[in-house]
Each structure stands twice: as C-alpha cells, then as structure tokens.
C-alpha cells in the first residue's frame, strides 16, 4: 500500500508503533546502563580488601563482601537481611557503633577513621577503624549506608609495643650510664683502698731489703724479698685491672709521640736477656736494620713488648729458646715474639684472651703472672689501630705472638 493510500488512523497507529519501538529501545538502554552500574558497584565491593557492609535505612544488611565474611567468620545466610546489631548472636550490639550509626551519621554523611574497640567471642579483641558514608538516593527515596572496616589491632599492638620498647630502651640506657659511673667510682675507690696498705707492704719491705736501718740475716732477707715481690705483683694486678677497665670504658687515652723502635726494642731486651740468662734460655734476635720510627704511646708499646717477652721467658722451661723478629710490613711494623716453651692447646687459644686464664700445666702453675698481660696487650695494640694474635701448634710446641702497629697511628705530637 502506498503511503498516500493509508488512512489517517493507519498513519497515527504506525507512528505510535514507531514511538513505542524507540521508547522500548531507550528503556532497554537505560536498563542496560543500570545493570552495568550495578555490576560496577558489585565489583568494587568485591575488590575491596577490607570488610565492607552495605546497610539500608533501617540498618539492615543489604550486602557484605567476601572479606567481611572471612574476617568476622559469619555466613551470608545469617548476615543478609539481619539488623546490624543482631549479627553474630548480637555480638555487634556495640555502643560506639550505635553512636556512629544513630547519632553521628544522621548529622554528617561522611565519617572517616572512627575507632571502635570490641571483644568478639569468636575472633577475640579487635580494634577497628570505620569509614562510613550515608548515600541518599532521591529517586527511590532510600538511604544507603556504607561501612568500610579496617582491622588495626595488630598495627596498634606493634605501635604500643614499639612505644614500650622505646621506653624500656631509654630506661636501660640510663641504667647503663649509672652502672658505668658506679663501676668507675668503684674502681677509683678500690684502687685507692688497695694502694694504701700496699704502700706499707712494698715500702717497708723495700727499706728492710735494702738494709737501710740495719742488716738482715740471709733467711730474713729472703723472706722480706718475698714480701716485696708479692707486693709488687699485687700492684701490677691492680694496675692491669684498672687499665683493662679504662680501655673497656673507652677512657684510655694514648700519648702519641715518635718512637725510634729499633733502639727502643734493643733497650727493652736488656732486662729480658738478664731474665733469660737466669733460666739458661737461648735468645734469637732478628730486628730489621731499616725498622722505621712509629707514632705511638711509648709507655704502652713498652708494656706490650714487656708482657710478651716476659711471657716467653716465663713459659719456656730451662734450656729452651726464645726470640724476637721485627720488620716493616707495608704501613705497619710487625713484631713476633716466639718461644719453644709449653705452648697452648687449641681449645685454649681464645680463653687466653679472656683474662685471669692461666694455661693449666704443672709447669705454668709455678710461674708468676697475672693472666691479664696478654688480653691487655691486645687491647693496647688495638687502641693504636694495630692487631695482636697468638699461634701455637699445641701443648709443648712453643708459641708465637705476632703484633702489628701502624707506622702512623693518628696524630703524632
């Protein structure tokens, strides 16, 4: 039928149909958009890592995400459609949550970081931060509430723990300072109190031995000499204990000067040669001709050398050999003091640096010593930026102590 042949009614009806088709298409597009928006919202809810709740205006649960179920250990069946306060056998009837939902949110549509602390029977004590939004949807005359929950229990525990640890550390530091002060005062007092009687012991026995006020018979002289030697041994102990404590407290200051090592070593060997001669020990000396001067504390260097050399004499039985090698090695001088004496068992190699350790052999029991000379010598060498180490192939196989001092250790005055 041609268009001009259609009746007016027919034309009206066709137009109406055409309009309906358009409207239907529009409606479908709209529905499609709504569907898309819903899916979009749905994926957001499921993507969020923290628990999320959607409530209607009656505070009934409309949606909850997977994280909510996982975290609060509840099922969708008991959750959806329930009044929020009834969740988990009314566990959710939390006064602070009521305040948020009933007092704060109606006045303010947006609340962040609202803290709620609660004891749940199934998941225990929890501290949570709530972000809440009230969304007003005019078209459907409805109000939706979004609740996003973050569990901060562990973070808070760590923060509190850190705070406590910090406090404890501060207290410990104060206590350590106090202890260091008490220790240093104790040592000063000990030093004073021990020196006072030692002054008499050493002073009177020295004067008696020297026969300043009259002669002694042979036995008296021997006894008095024993008192004097023992007094001096005690004094050495006190001094070494104090020095060890000083180095450990970082209070030992070096008085650096330029030391002509070659002449210093040769001069130091004189009294040692005397000691060695009495025990019929051979002495082998290899002091390099080009041994340089070093910047170091003279008294401390003498002390180290004396300790090592006198140890070599003490721990080598009659007829043995002791020796010293000294040479320049790069920016250091290296001195090795060796002997063919009682040696050190492998298990004792570290113990000899612990202080008061005496290698327990029938021979060493009879020798004089404090057991502090070697550890103190190592500390003094290290204070100069040097090193000290001991080698021994075992008991009765001799020992050698190698120590190195930098040619320039710090400022030379």
């Amino acid at each position: 039928m041609r268009d001009q042949d259609k009746t007016k009614e027919q034309r009206v009806a066709e137009k109406r149909v055409a309009e309906l088709v358009v409207s239907e298409a529009q409606h479908k597009r709209k529905e499609h958009r709504i569907q898309e928006a819903l899916e979009y919202a749905e994926s957001i809810i499921e993507t969020v890592r923290g628990p999320l709740l959607v409530l209607d205006s009656d505070l009934k649960v409309v949606r909850a995400n997977r994280s909510f179920y996982d975290f609060f250990k509840v099922t969708p069946e008991e959750t959806i459609g329930s009044f929020i306060y009834d969740l988990g056998n009314r566990q959710w009837d939390i006064p602070r949550l009521r305040t948020l939902l009933e007092d704060i949110l109606p006045k303010d549509n947006k609340i962040d970081d609202y803290e709620v602390e609660h004891e749940f029977s199934n998941i225990g004590h929890r501290i949570m931060l709530f972000n809440a939004r009230r969304i007003i949807q005019k078209e459907i005359a409805s109000r939706t509430i979004l609740l996003a929950i973050e569990d901060i229990t562990e973070r808070r525990e760590i923060e509190t723990g850190l705070g406590k640890a910090h406090e404890a550390l501060k207290e410990l530091a104060t206590e350590l300072k106090r202890t260091a002060k008490v220790k240093s005062e104790f040592l000063a007092n000990m030093s004073h109190e021990l020196r006072t009687p030692l002054n008499s012991v050493i002073g009177f026995s020295e004067v008696s031995y020297d026969e300043t006020f009259g002669t002694l018979n042979e036995k008296q002289k021997k006894y008095v000499n024993n008192i004097l030697t023992s007094g001096k041994h005690l004094l050495l102990l006190i001094n070494q204990i104090l020095d060890t404590a000083k180095v450990e407290a970082g209070k030992m200051n070096l008085a650096l000067s330029s030391l002509p090592m070659k002449s210093l070593l040769n001069e130091m060997l004189l009294p040692i040669e005397d000691m060695a001669g009495k025990k019929k020990l051979q002495m082998v000396l290899e002091i390099a001709e080009d041994l340089p001067d070093i910047g170091a504390d003279e008294l401390k260097v003498r002390e180290i050398n004396y300790n090592l050399l006198s140890n070599a004499v003490k721990f080598t039985p009659e007829g043995g050999t002791i020796g010293m090698r000294a040479k320049k090695a790069d920016s250091e001088i290296e001195i090795v003091v060796w002997d063919t004496g009682v040696g050190i068992a492998p298990e004792n190699m570290e113990k000899i640096f612990e202080g008061f350790f005496r290698v327990d052999t029938p021979y060493s029991r009879s020798t004089e010593g404090t057991g502090l000379g070697l550890p103190l010598s190592r500390k003094l060498a290290e204070l100069h930026g040097g090193k000290l180490s001991v080698e021994s192939e075992g008991l009765n196989k001799g020992a050698s102590v190698r120590f190195a001092l930098p040619i320039i250790s710090g400022k030379v005055e």
Binding site: L187, A188, S191, H192, E193, R195, T196, P197, L198, N199, S200, V201, I202, G203, F204, E206, V207, D210, T212, F213, G231, L235, L242, K251
Partner: protein
Amino acid sequence: MKKKALIVDDNANNLMLEKDLSEITGFEVFEARNAADGIAIAGREKPYIILMDVRFPDMRGTAASRILRQDKETCDIPIVFVTSSVMAEGIEEIKNITNTGFMGKPINTRTFAKEISQFIK
C-alpha cells in the same frame, strides 16, 4: 740545723714510712694525722716542705693546701701530695694549686729522697 719537713697522713703506717725516709734524707720531721693539725703545725714550724695525703677524715688535702696558700706565713711552702688517688680524677684535683708536686702510692723508697729534693728550691 736540720731542715724541717711536715708529714700529714691519717694512716699511721704510711706516716711512719715517710717519716723514716725523710729523717734518713736529713730532715727534722713533724707529723700530723689530720688536715687541721697539719695546718696548725705548718703555721707554727714553717717547714721547708709539706708531704700531704689527699683524703683525710676532716677535709681534703687540696682544701687544706688552699688554706695554707692564703696565709702569708705558709703560702710559699712547697706541698707534695703523696696519694693513693693516682687515677686521672686525683691528678686533676691538685692541678690548680701552686707550688705542688705529686707522688703516687705505693711510693718508691729508693727514689724518695731524690723526688723530694726536686720540690725544694
């Protein structure tokens, strides 16, 4: 006439040792067991030299020496502190007092006379 030395020490044994060594060196020795007596004897006898401990029951030797320094009669007498306080704090304490010396305990009886003579002008 012998030169006078004053020895102040609260420990009887140490006092005796220093006294005997000083007498052998040729001094006429006066002794005091505390700082107050020491100050009194110093004013009366005007010794050539004073050997003084640092710790006394009544006051410190350094305080006693400041009193001696304020008196015209005793301000120039050399004072040798013979003390067991040989650690840094002890030496620091006497640093600012004029015309003083330091001898650590235990004393060396063999060099005692020589050390004392160094402090006398």
